[in-house]
Structures are given as structure tokens and as C-alpha cells.
């Protein structure tokens, strides 16, 4: 278990490092088109560094605002607060802020930058449809995301993917208008092999970045499921909660593509229909199919 958390941390560092490399390469390719590779690289790194810094401080508030979450009243939602407090005692974590989202679909997410600045949000549908033990399993899953620092990594990953996408977008647009740099006498500058490599890179970088983010996110979901059971010492609770989520067809409206990776169940429609997805789609899924997650928990 702790071995898993450690290897997870190593992988996260590798993820961030490779993102920086991709960003640097995109920047270099970008720079090639404006005529100076070094300037492009520096611009890209400074730009994404700034974005990462801003998201470190503000991402949790943005995520909560986008999902229209509001603080849960401790008197009215006594059970919810009690369960979170109990799990925090079990794991030695400080109690995170607890938020509610008005949505009939059962779902939940965690956000923040470290255990001291974290928040858990659940939908009203989740409170209605799950019993105490199931709800505890879901909350333990979210607290595991906080304890394993998944909340920070996913926030940074999203920001970096965003930066890659934005930079390539700008580059592609510039090429469009500039015709790939036309010489003064009208000859196309098509002979530069570096430029072609750069073009290929610009096209594939966002796809690679997105697939990398999805891979890391899927691993973290599985890990959070397992550590949730370590917290509650009662796998059947989470299993039956995931089964209810699987059988519930309601789509979470409060979620958008930008926040999809954060929720316990992938909130988008058309995903997880029986768990049969094409390999291509599977590459960009932020969550493993619920049936796979349930099967894994059964083995515990």
C-alpha cells in the first residue's frame, strides 16, 4: 500500500517533468516559426510556470465556483459532517471544508492544494441515494485523493495540458495566417526539416499531453479506491456505492469537461455504457470503467 503511494509520487514527478519537456519542445517549435527557438522556449516555460503558480493558489476556488458548490450547513447535514470528521480521525488528516452541489446525479469530488487547504464537494443526489456506509466509502475515496496529493497533481496536470493546448493553438493559427513563413520573393520556405518536425510536434503535443493526463488520472482513481478501503476497513461500502453509481443513469450537470477528471464517477454522458469503449476513447478516459474498479475492490 505505502509502496504504491511512493511509486505514485515518483510517477507524478515524472509526469510533471515530461510535461515541462513537452512544453519546452512546443515552445521551441513555436519559436522556430517566429524565427527564434530559444525565445519561444523561454516564453512557453514562463507562461506555463505563471499558469501553474496561479492555479496552485486559486484552482480550488475556481473548481468550486464552476460547479456552483456552496458550504454544507453542519446542523442540517450533520451526518455528512460526522462521516468526514470520523474518516479524518482514521487517517490523521485535518478536516477539509465540506461543500454541496445541487444536482440529482450522485457524484463527488475533492479539490485544493494540500491537506490543510482542501475541500470535498458532494451532490445532493449522492446524499439522497446512498446509505451511511456507502456515503462513507465515497467520502473515504475523496479523502484519499487529498491524502495522496492527487488534488494538487491533477490541478497542475490540467493547467499544463491547458498551456500546451493554448500554445499549439496560437502557433497553428499563426502558421495559417503566415502561410508557414513565405520568403520575400514569394518562395515557400519548405526545405527546413526542423520546421516539419516542429509542425508534427505542434499537432501531436496536445494529444500526447491529454493522453498522459488521462493515464495518470486513471491510476490515481484506482489507488484512491484502494486507500479508501484502507481507511474504512470495509470494502463492501465503497463497492455497493460504486454499483449504485454505475446503475444510476443521471448525468452530472454541474460538471464540465474541464472538471470531469475530479469527480468520483466520470460525469460525461455516453461514457461507461457497460464499460465497452474503443481503445482510442479509452486512452483519453480520466477514469477506469466502474465495472473494472468494482472487480478490483472485490479482490481485496
Amino acid at each position: 500500500m505505502f509502496e504504491l503511494i511512493r511509486s505514485n509520487k515518483r510517477r507524478s514527478v515524472a509526469l510533471i517533468a515530461s510535461f515541462v519537456v513537452i512544453l519546452g519542445m512546443v515552445g521551441a517549435a513555436f519559436g522556430l516559426y517566429i524565427g527564434n527557438g530559444l525565445v519561444g522556449t523561454i516564453v512557453a516555460l514562463v507562461f506555463s510556470g505563471g499558469m501553474a503558480f496561479a492555479s496552485y493558489w486559486k484552482a480550488d476556488k475556481i473548481a468550486l465556483a464552476v460547479s456552483r458548490a456552496y458550504p454544507a450547513d453542519p446542523v442540517q447535514y450533520q451526518r455528512l459532517h460526522n462521516l468526514v470528521e470520523g474518516l479524518c480521525i482514521a487517517s490523521g488528516l485535518p478536516k477539509p471544508a465540506v461543500y454541496l452541489v445541487d444536482d440529482p446525479a450522485p457524484n463527488a469530488f475533492a479539490t485544493g492544494r494540500d491537506p490543510k487547504h482542501a475541500a470535498i464537494a458532494v451532490t445532493t443526489g449522492l446524499l439522497e441515494k446512498l446509505n451511511r456506509v456507502e456515503l462513507e466509502g465515497v467520502l473515504a475515496h475523496e479523502l484519499s485523493h487529498i491524502r495522496n496529493y492527487d488534488i494538487l497533481i491533477s490541478t497542475l496536470a490540467v493547467t499544463l495540458v491547458g498551456a500546451v493546448a493554448l500554445l499549439t493553438n496560437i502557433a497553428v493559427r499563426m502558421m495559417w495566417w503566415n502561410g508557414g513563413r513565405v520568403n520575400r520573393d514569394g518562395d515557400r520556405d519548405g526545405g527546413n526539416p526542423l520546421a516539419i518536425v516542429g509542425l508534427v510536434l505542434l499537432i501531436f503535443a496536445p494529444i500526447i499531453a491529454k493522453a498522459m493526463q488521462a493515464t495518470i488520472s486513471r491510476k490515481r482513481e484506482t489507488l484512491a479506491d484502494v486507500s479508501a478501503c484502507q481507511m474504512t476497513r470495509y470494502p463492501p461500502g465503497l463497492i455497493s456505492a460504486l454499483e449504485k453509481l454505475r446503475d444510476d443513469g443521471t448525468v452530472t450537470h454541474a460538471a464540465s469537461t474541464a472538471t470531469a477528471h475530479m469527480w468520483i464517477e466520470q460525469p460525461m454522458a455516453g461514457v461507461g455504457d457497460g464499460g465497452h469503449l474503443s481503445r482510442w476513447n479509452k486512452m483519453f478516459d480520466t477514469h477506469p470503467p466502474l465495472s473494472e474498479r468494482i472487480a478490483l475492490l472485490r479482490e481485496l
Binding site: E85, L87, I89, A90, S91
Partner: protein
């Protein structure tokens, strides 16, 4: 030359001992903190009981034996010794008495509908969960502390520096038995 190698080796050993020592201290403090958490949760439970008794009395005052069992168990829990084993014994009796009280409430629809009673029941259920969780955390902390203490080479100087093994929290034999259901 030789003297420098010697100084270097001594410095590395001293640094290593300092790091291990600090790790042990941190671990031991976590065990102590986890232990006091259990006390906090038990105290919270004890404080909730008088309110519960008052509420139940309003509806089922004649269920004297059940109510008295809870009150006695509560007093015993307050007077319980501070060792893990002694505390566990008193606490298990209290848990059993409370279980009887809540089973009794099934026979009184008015009591079951009382908002105050429901809130207290939720609060006590949650506190019982918290007691269990704080014990789980205590045991996890003891495990990681004992692991650190008994691993080589910390084991060489751990007892010299007065790092003792910590005791696990274990439930008694009675509560480990599966309860019998009779029809």
C-alpha cells in the same frame, strides 16, 4: 589523510543517528497524540449520554433496567483506568448497553419520531465510529512506530535512548465473538 576519513565516518554516523532519532520522536508523538484522540472521542460519547437518557425517559420512563444499565456503564467508563486494555473493557460494556437502548426505541414510535432523539442517535453512532477510527489510527501509528524502533540499526540505540515498544489497542474476547441471534 586517515584522520579526515575517520572524522568523515563519525560525522556520517552522528548525522544518521540524529535523523533516526528525530524520526522516532515524531513517530512517538504521533502515537501519543493518537492516544489522546481516543480519549477525546470517548469523553464526547460520555457527555452525550445524559441528554439521551433524559430524552428517552420522556417516552419510556418505565424501562428502568435498560436505562440504569446505560448509566452504570457510563459511570464505569468514566472511572476506567487509562491503559488500553482497561479502557477497552469499560467501553465495550457501554457500547453493549447503548445497543440495547437503541433496540428498545424500536418499540416506541413516538420516541423514534422525536427530532432530538434522532439527532442524538446520529451523534452517538457517529461518535462510536470515531472511537473505532481513532483506535484504528492509534494502532496504525503504533505499527509504524514499532516498525521504526525495531528495524536495524535503530534497534541498537532505541532502548538506550528510552524508546519503548508501544502497546496495541485490542478488543476483548467477548466482543470478538459473533453475536447470537435468537428468534
Amino acid at each position: 589523510m586517515g584522520i579526515w576519513i575517520l572524522i568523515g565516518v563519525v560525522a556520517v554516523v552522528v548525522l544518521y543517528v540524529i535523523v533516526v532519532y528525530n524520526g522516532l520522536i515524531r513517530s512517538r508523538n504521533q502515537v501519543d497524540n493518537a492516544w489522546s484522540q481516543i480519549d477525546v472521542q470517548l469523553k464526547r460519547r460520555i457527555d452525550l449520554i445524559p441528554n439521551l437518557i433524559e430524552t428517552v425517559k420522556g417516552y419510556a420512563a418505565h424501562e428502568k433496567s435498560t436505562l440504569e444499565a446505560v448509566i452504570n456503564a457510563r459511570n464505569a467508563a468514566i472511572a476506567a483506568p487509562g491503559t488500553p486494555a482497561g479502557q477497552a473493557a469499560a467501553d465495550n460494556i457501554l457500547t453493549g448497553a447503548l445497543k440495547n437502548l437503541f433496540a428498545l426505541s424500536e418499540a416506541y414510535p413516538d420516541l423514534k419520531a422525536n427530532q432530538n432523539f434522532l439527532a442524538l442517535q446520529e451523534e452517538l453512532t457517529a461518535t462510536e465510529g470515531r472511537v473505532a477510527y481513532s483506535r484504528q489510527f492509534y494502532n496504525d501509528s503504533v505499527l509504524s512506530y514499532n516498525n521504526k524502533r525495531q528495524a536495524f540499526p535503530a534497534v541498537i540505540f532505541a532502548s538506550i535512548l528510552k524508546f519503548e515498544n508501544k502497546e496495541y489497542f485490542e478488543t476483548d474476547e467477548a466482543s470478538r465473538e459473533v453475536p447470537k441471534v435468537q428468534f
